[in-house]
């Protein structure tokens, strides 16, 4: 998410979300912190969207709870969004403004031109926005696929026109800046899938992202060419297939499709299942298959499974576990790197340099990636002649002042807002720290009832443990802890201490010391 200010108005560019990292236990989703927009609520003009991926549109259902806004995006981007907003019951808070690639729109003081770029979802765009000092060009997520599946290449002429106008500031996708060379064309994957399906003797399952319409198209083509039917599997797969088919982005004949519930009854060699779950998501169709727990698909030796996807950083463990499970079923498994069943949707180093040469920006800010990706993209920019002092590395919360010169401004409130169940933002760093601590060594609860007047122990101490030590081993340890708590209470009584807070701290210290001596662990003690 980026916010662009001009003449007192704010244009929001994309509004994505990310998925929790390992050290965010229990968290479902990670949103950008909307505080800056909240503080400037009256000045927010509109949201412009580059494409329909979750990391670019995923926080809109939450943003629209607080804001009622126009959304500018291409046909497929808005179509994929529509269902999500309806699910969250905020569809009426957004005014959809459909934009065709190549079109220019005006909203408040902003003039924005949308230029088509190729990516791993159709209908993606770069954005050119007129500013007093010249054009701000935002690449969106892109690659330079010269032979895209839909024949719609990145609009190099349109981009060149912006360059001739003079791109004052260029923001460009850094995801694959570490990868040398050029990213292969999406078209390379088709023949690989076709050969795998043709050679398969039994059931074939191909897993990919639900929004990767061109991949789905190629998987469906491979099925059709081998005389097989297609069954789609997974809720998001059904949604995006339906949207893409109705808008003409995906061509699969009705008679080529069978419902997933019927696959069991068919000859396995007559069908290809196209499924979600390529990132090893715990309850996804593919994970369930790998654990032999899927309702409809029961993999067996002779079946074929293709993970037509990359490994998104952070998902390595989940994907490896899914792969091991799939192998355990006896199925033949194809995945990167052992088979070329995937190409990336992001430009690699040579494409990024080509783009920088085409655009020849006066100032450059690499975007979209971890700091190491941005740093590499900056290195590439220096290699093609962008002066080092005209490249700014920015992170969440940094602002950039765009005048004749471009420089970092004051930082603003930014960061992550956690979604956990129904709660948005009620779980913060403190709660997460508690959760990590609970996870690390568990918790021990000591309960004792003391007469407020006499100091006499009326009940307990009871000592209860969760996640600290196992039952059998626990008994003697917890018994001793009970004893220590009692001793500690007696010491307090002898000293005439009766303040519950002080008593509590005494017991806690005594018990904590004992646990650490015995186990070198530090459970949370309540």
């Amino acid at each position: 998410m980026a916010a662009l200010e001009l003449e007192g108005r704010i244009l929001v560019i994309d509004a994505g979300l990310s998925f929790p990292e390992v050290e965010m236990p229990g968290i479902d989703l990670v949103l950008p912190d909307f505080q800056y927009l909240r503080d400037n609520q009256d000045r927010v003009e509109a949201v412009v969207l580059t494409h329909g991926h979750e990391d670019h549109v995923g926080s809109l259902p939450y943003l629209l709870r607080e804001f009622s806004l126009p959304l500018y995006g291409t046909k497929l981007t808005l179509a994929l969004l529509e269902g999500k907003l309806e699910e969250h019951r905020v569809r009426d808070r957004a005014r959809f403004e459909e934009v065709a690639p190549g079109q220019e729109i005006h909203t408040g003081p902003f003039t924005v031109r949308f230029h088509r770029v190729s990516h791993s979802i159709p209908d993606g765009c770069a954005l050119a926005i007129d500013l007093p000092a010249g054009v701000l060009l935002h690449s969106g997520d892109f690659k330079l696929d010269s032979t895209p599946i839909d024949g719609r290449v990145t609009d190099l002429q349109g981009l060149a026109e912006e360059a001739r106008r003079g791109v004052h500031l260029f923001l460009s996708d850094s995801t694959n800046a570490e990868d040398p060379g050029s990213t292969g064309s999406e078209r390379l994957v088709g023949p690989v899938l076709r050969d795998i399906v043709r050679d398969a003797r039994h059931l074939v399952v191909i897993a990919c992202f639900a929004s990767h319409i061109h991949r789905i198209q190629q998987a469906a083509n491979a099925a059709t060419q081998a005389g097989r039917k297609v069954a789609f599997l997974g809720r998001s797969m059904h949604q995006s297939v339906q949207a893409a088919r109705s808008l003409g982005f995906l061509t699969v004949a009705d008679e080529a499709i069978v419902p997933i519930e019927e696959v069991e009854k068919l000859d396995p060699s007559s069908v290809v299942v196209i499924s979600t779950g390529s990132q090893g998501e715990p309850l996804s169709a593919l994970s369930l298959m790998s654990a032999h727990e899927h309702k409809y698909i029961h993999l067996e030796p002779g079946d074929t499974v293709v993970l037509s996807s990359s490994v998104i950083p952070g998902n390595e463990t989940a994907i490896h576990r899914t792969l091991d499970g799939l192998y355990r079923t006896g199925a033949d498994v194809f995945h990167v790197p052992i088979a070329p069943v995937h190409v990336s949707g992001h430009a690699a180093a040579e494409e990024l340099k080509f783009m920088l040469n085409l655009i020849q920006p006066r100032w450059f800010v690499p975007v979209h990636g971890e700091l190491r990706h941005l740093a590499h993209h900056a290195r590439l920019a220096r290699e093609v002649g962008v002066p080092a002092d005209r490249i700014l590395l920015v992170e969440d919360g940094d602002t950039v002042e765009i005048g004749e010169t471009v420089r970092k401004g004051e930082r603003v409130s930014a960061g992550m807002t956690f979604v956990d169940g129904l709660g948005i933002g009620d779980v913060g760093e403190v709660v997460l720290r508690d959760r990590r601590k609970l996870a690390g060594d568990g918790i021990v609860v000591v309960v004792v009832t003391v007469d407020a007047h006499s100091g006499e122990v009326l009940a307990g101490p009871d000592v209860i443990n969760r996640g600290f030590v196992f039952q059998d081993a626990a008994e003697p340890i917890l018994e001793e802890a009970r004893h220590r708590a009692l001793v500690s209470l007696k010491e307090c009584a002898a000293q005439g201490v009766s303040d519950p807070t002080v008593l509590r701290e005494h017991i806690r210290t005594a018990v904590r010391r004992y646990f650490f001596e015995t186990t070198q662990r530090k459970p949370v003690i309540v």
Copy 2:
């Protein structure tokens, strides 16, 4: 760890450990389950070691608490082990039996020949063990480096001799079975490090595994050739450098070394720091540097950091975080894949096929790797002509009966034993499940004192939360939970229920239902 039985005696091959995965919170180390050896305590003859890596010798300090055993290994393997066993005060429980590569040893009914193999630690061996049906050959961890740093290539002639004797069963390293082609020679890394150090204008830090003596040698050479001193950093680095230097495996002159404490006082351009922490371990020297928290090394723009290492699966997130932190310091950072600063120590597909062709085993069991690696190695074996029905895929706990034919036997007790602080094996799946649950949604403790006779509430209910909701948001939720608990108690009283277990369950259900309605979270409720 593998156990080989012959004439009623048991020979243990390697005794490694692994590191906890994400879903093992709080766990420090993961050991193999020793139960089978415990059950057959009198029959254990000895341990033979292929090489000195943690995943091959790391559980010996724990095994030796229960067993007093002879350990057969090469010079460096035993030297690296010595310090570890002393730290754990079990050195006297092991009888060290040093073996030179090429040598044959006899212990009980076992005859074992050690054959040198090249790997990412010096002094590694394959093991050939005579069995009635022929030779059992265990490859150890290996690659076929034709130009190793120490000039000591894999003993192909020795292995060929075993093949001529007739290898009945071959167990071979599968780690890199998914990688096409051949793994590059360790020697390729030297010139890369040399160029980086030569071109650096300021401090250089090179991080690698402490046991990777040849890498350390090449890093030290690069420093010396650029006229720089070397400073070693990290406890395990100091230990292994000392052992390797004293045995002649590492050649760094005394005058080329400066203590790490003195680096601050030196001209940064006159020193190379060789450090541990290449896996992003949280408290390692490199992690501290990346967070600007290291005692002696304060990175700044112009400094150079090299991660001369691979990414071990499971460490991706930690390494990426460390990399981002290093970039944030402004240092130039070199790592795979953007610079060829590392080669693997394991044979890739072509080498594995070469080995299978050389050995021509009658039966084949791929070892050392996740199931997907074993499955790929099996595929490679089929490609070079090993019949599919003579390849066995085995996992932890499987046994293999080696007669004229080789087949799977009954499974035995096996699995993982967790080390947490001082506890070994007292944390099991139940405790881990509790910890994961605690981490997911936190815990709520409800305390209420009820008169056993009258059913009257004497104190409370008090409701305490850890890791469930944050303080500000928590108050109204916890207040309502208190109310629900009270209502639930009154309902029980009205029904004449006074059994504490039933009361407890009633309160728990009421509170749990309320929390789920309000937050869709399921904290542990005590």
